[in-house]
């Protein structure tokens, strides 16, 4: 209590310095006047009275000093003194300060940026959504099959009804519609959501309302939509009376019932949703397939919010128990099915899962860069401390405490780090949208992956700042504080006694830098090799001379028969063009960012194990699809126009399916049951990749477009370029319907490349930072070697006087540098061998111990080291032996 009062009193004193001084003067003056008056009364002469009064009181200056001391907070004042002194020192050597601050800004900025990405993409990915710490993602699983599956609506409702540990179950499904009909059609992303969506997320629409519970039910019964702030702003020009107006969506007028607040993007990492419709509209927005009453048809990518205090384990246990009950109650649809909860950062169905490995690598990389930057600044400070040893010795000699010196040096460190932290946060702020640039637009829409700089990121960055200060500041500070007076005084006369240890320390720092950079180099070359391996992987279809695009007929309000006629007509018109080899319809082209339909299947002669429920992905493809994409048929035939609604249903299966369900025997002519309907196998297609280059070979089959759901994509085999083809396409489409426009038209190569974006981001990241680390290490090595050369002038001079040639000197210096480099590389190789596992699934067909990658890193590192040593070595050969010996 008393301590606190004294502290506050003194703290207040700091801010009232002027008035305190005046009060003190006045009080002392009053005292003197009284004493003089008293002395005069006693009969002294005015002069004697004055002298006596002063004598009684004592030295005014001392009293004031004692008074001030009592009044002051010594800690703060000393700190202030240190700060001022620190700033003066930094201003005195602007080059050093700038370099140090730049190094640290880079280190801290990179860390803050990655923190903000992790926060904004993985930890709290949904701006404006309440209690994200209790949110988990929910997806279905199939026993014995890797990956995740969507949840069906009946299952979702049962889980919601029977669970006890959850505040909310949220159904969500990303979908797209085409809105800007002009010269080019633009995909607009939206979500089908359960009616509780906005309430459960704690997001209040700024105009109108969210959805009402009744809007979950009734087949296509509630054509209402909540639009995003951005759509309200861009498309409706902030119309304040927007609520109640209608907007055509997928051929049906929808009443706009609400506008979401600014900054709410929905709940799909990577995309900004533009509108939301309630679950009752599912059929209209997912391929005209009604799924709300089909327990076997999954479409929901769900989220749950746990009740406060419920743990993830208990929640999972309850969900698993409920899923087990569903499996028993509905064996025909739910056999082998489970439900799994994931923390948001491992969400399997959005970009969080894709970016997780990349971001964890990024985190490791920036920590490395920070360490290297710290080592560099440490080194710079050591050089500077050497220049300041005279000053330090003087201060010790004049009675400065060791603690005080240490504090002074650390204060300078704090100043450097604070300036760097400010710069670093600015860097992070600028870079918060960088991830978006690294990941390409898909389907013509740019991604939405903003970093989030909130108080947690700020706190962590400040923490990093202080940690770095300790890291880079403490080493030189401790060394300086252990100044041996007599030794330092002697060192003034040119000895090198004190220099030995310092040189050792600096060499250690450089070795550390080199080893850290080497680790990054190994990581970068491993990823480059892996990317090369990925790109040289054959997708199983032809990526040259093939283009893909889409025309959204559902959004334009076409019904099924009209759409089918339009598509056939368009294919015929395009095929008649010179230069166009063939054109094929497909619902979902390979490597598109959409999921294929999957179906329960049964095969004559294949007996599934009791808890196995054979489920296979499939796609609807048009006539000549395999020829157009260049996928060879192993046996049987392609689909033709004759495979239409009235013809007997057929399928083309892939080789993996033949191997699994027909034991490798040619199944052409055999039967395959899909969703209760029997199809006849018409052909066998060679294996190809379906979603990305990394996937393992999997069973897959194709059905004719006219016997399945409507699709809108085209594959065009042509020798024409995309630009020319687009012009033809626009012309042909608009001859058929003036109001229609095609979507983005890209080469299949581009389509494939877009799926390797995570790997490319990782490569870009490691290469950038590997390069920077290399530069920092080179600067460090250069500094150490320059210093060593300047310190051994006498020795060099002597060697030259004794007949050493320039080449000998060059070799001597460079070999010293190489010793450090080799030490660093050996150390770094050890660390790299241990850490390469971190690259995990990003490494494709490349061993984490790949000798080629290590070799490449070795060559780059050695060359850089040679370059860094060359200048000091060359300077060494220019030593004037006479001058050096005379000094």
């Amino acid at each position: 209590m008393t301590g606190l009062r004294v502290f506050l009193w003194r703290l207040a004193g700091l801010f009232r310095k002027g008035s305190l001084e005046r009060d003190m003067d006045e009080e002392i003056d009053f005292h003197l006047q009284m004493e003089i008056a008293e002395n005069l009364r006693r009969g002294m002469t005015p002069q004697a009275a004055r002298a006596a009064a002063h004598r009684r009181l004592g030295g005014v200056a001392q009293i004031k000093e004692a008074y001030r001391e009592t009044h002051a907070l010594p800690v703060l004042q000393v700190l202030w003194q240190d700060l001022r002194y620190g700033f003066r020192m930094l201003r005195r050597s602007p080059g050093f300060s700038l370099l140090a601050i730049l190094c640290l800004t880079l280190g801290i900025g990179a860390n803050a940026a990655v923190f903000s990405w992790i926060e904004g993409v993985l930890l709290r990915p949904f701006p404006l959504v309440a209690h994200q710490d209790r949110m988990m993602a929910m997806a279905g699983t199939n026993r014995g099959m890797p990956g995740h599956d969507d949840v069906s609506w009946p299952d979702f409702l049962d889980l919601q009804k029977n669970s006890t540990l959850f505040d909310a179950f949220i159904a969500d499904k990303i979908m797209g519609t085409t809105l800007s009909i002009g010269d080019r059609a633009q995909v607009t992303t939206g979500s089908i959501v359960s009616a509780n969506y906005f309430d459960a997320l704690g997001v209040r629409p700024i105009l109108g309302r969210g959805f009402e519970p009744a809007e979950d039910f009734g087949r296509n019964a509630h054509p209402v939509t909540v639009i995003s702030y951005q759509m309200w702003k861009d498309r409706f020009h902030r119309d304040p009376a927007i609520v109640g107006k209608t907007q055509m969506l997928n051929g049906m007028p929808h009443t706009i019932v609400g506008v979401a607040p600014e900054g709410f993007y929905g709940t799909f990492v990577g995309w900004a949703m533009q509108f939301w419709v309630p679950a009752s509209m599912q059929e209209r927005f997912s391929g005209n397939v009604y799924k709300l009453e089909d327990r076997g048809a999954g479409w929901i990518e769900g989220f749950v919010r746990l009740k406060p205090g419920a743990t993830a384990q208990r929640a999972q246990a309850e969900i698993s128990a409920l899923a087990g009950r569903l499996e028993r109650d509905y064996p025909s649809t739910n056999r082998g099915r489970g439900i799994e909860l994931y923390p948001l950062w491992r969400t399997p169905f959005n970009n969080a899962g894709t970016l997780l490995p990349t971001l964890s690598i990024a985190l490791a990389v920036v920590v490395f860069v920070l360490l290297i930057a710290c080592a560099n600044v440490s080194n710079l400070l050591l050089v500077k401390a050497f220049g300041r040893r005279h000053e330090m010795t003087m201060r010790v000699a004049l009675g400065a405490g060791r603690g005080r010196l240490l504090r002074q040096l650390l204060t300078e460190g704090v100043i450097l780090a604070s300036l760097a932290a400010a710069g670093g946060l600015a860097v992070a702020y600028r870079c918060r949208n960088l991830l978006m640039l690294l990941l390409p637009a898909r389907g013509g829409n740019t991604m939405n992956l903003p970093g989030e700089i909130d108080w947690r990121v700020l706190a962590l960055s400040v923490g990093v700042c202080f940690l770095t200060t300790l890291l880079f500041g403490l080493v030189p500070a401790l060394q300086t504080s252990s100044i041996d007076m007599s030794c330092a005084m002697r060192a003034e006369s040119g000895g090198v006694v004190g220099g030995r240890r310092r040189a050792l320390l600096r060499s250690t720092l450089v070795v550390a830098q080199i080893s850290l950079s080497f680790v990054l180099l190994v990581g970068a070359s491993l990823l480059i090799e892996s990317l090369r391996a990925i790109r040289s992987t054959n997708p199983g279809f032809s990526t040259s001379n093939t283009l893909t695009t889409w025309v959204d007929l559902i959004a334009a309000g076409y019904d099924l028969p009209r759409a089918r006629d339009f598509q056939d007509e368009l294919v015929d018109r395009l095929q008649s063009h010179a230069g166009v080899e063939s054109v094929a319809l497909v619902r979902i082209p390979p490597f598109a960012y959409k999921s294929y339909s999957s179906a329960r299947i049964a095969v004559d002669g294949y007996e599934p194990s009791p808890d196995e429920q054979p489920t296979v992905d499939y796609d609807e493809v048009g006539p000549a699809y395999f020829a157009t994409l260049g996928i060879p048929l192993r046996s049987g035939r392609e689909f033709t126009r004759a495979d239409n609604e009235t013809a007997p249903p057929v399928a083309v299966v892939n080789e993996a399916m033949v191997a699994q369900y027909w034991h490798g025997q040619d199944p052409v002519g055999r039967r395959l049951q899909v969703k209760g309907r029997w199809l006849r196998v018409a052909g066998v297609a060679k294996m190809s990749k379906y979603r990305n280059l990394l996937e393992a070979s999997r069973p897959f089959f194709y059905v004719p477009v006219r016997q399945g759901a409507l699709g809108g994509s085209l594959i065009i085999r042509t020798s024409l370029g995309p630009q020319t083809m687009l012009k033809i396409l626009v012309r042909e489409i608009q001859t058929l319907d003036r109001n229609l426009a095609p979507g983005e038209l890209i080469t299949m190569q581009e389509q494939v490349d877009r799926t390797t974006s995570a790997q490319r981001v990782a490569v870009a990241f490691l290469c950038t930072f590997g390069g920077l680390a290399l530069l920092l290490a080179a600067i460090g090595l250069y500094g150490v070697m320059s210093y060593a050369v300047s310190q051994s002038r006498r020795e060099l001079g002597l060697r030259m006087a004794l007949g050493a040639a320039a080449s000998d000197i060059l070799r001597l210096v460079i070999s010293q540098g190489l010793v450090l480099t080799i030490a660093g590389i050996v150390l770094g190789a050890g660390v790299a061998l241990g850490l390469a596992r971190l690259l995990g699934y990003l490494l494709y067909k490349v061993s984490p111990r790949d000798p080629l990658a290590f070799g490449l890193a070795l060559v780059v590192m050695t060359l850089t080291a040679l370059a860094a040593c060359f200048l000091p070595a060359w300077r060494a050969t220019r030593t004037d032996p006479v001058g050096a010996l005379r000094d």
Binding site: R5, E27, G58, I63, A66, Y67
Partner: protein, 118 residues
């Protein structure tokens, strides 16, 4: 017993604090010079107080919350700072006085030559 001397070791003499508090307790609000004069008078001028040390001591007593200071007019109508004892100060004074009594009685026993011989 928390003594002033312990509280601010070595700088503020417990005795001086005791004297100031006692003076203010007896005479009521008083300015610095008045306090100094009073202490000298009570000690019969035997205590050659270096008056200057009084002011930092007064400040410290304020910081402890034992006295307060207020600007007012002196007997000759000059502006002067008047110090007054607070309730906490009175409590402290009682504590200090008791402690002092005990210490001085112990010391007095040691000081008596009779104690030595017996």
């Amino acid at each position: 017993v928390v003594s002033v001397a312990n509280e601010k070791a070595g700088v503020l003499h417990g005795s001086l604090a005791l004297m100031v508090l006692r003076t203010l307790d007896t005479l009521g609000p008083l300015h610095g010079w008045g306090i100094a004069r009073r202490i000298e008078q009570i000690s019969g001028d035997a205590l050659a107080l270096n008056q200057g040390t009084l002011y930092p001591a007064l400040l410290r007593l304020q910081q402890m919350g034992w006295i307060t200071a207020k600007w007012g007019a002196s007997e000759h109508n000059r502006r002067a700072r008047f110090y007054a004892i607070t309730r906490a100060g009175k409590k402290q004074l009682a504590k200090e006085a008791a402690a002092w009594d005990r210490i001085s009685s112990i010391l007095a026993r040691f000081a008596k030559p009779a104690g030595e011989s017996s």
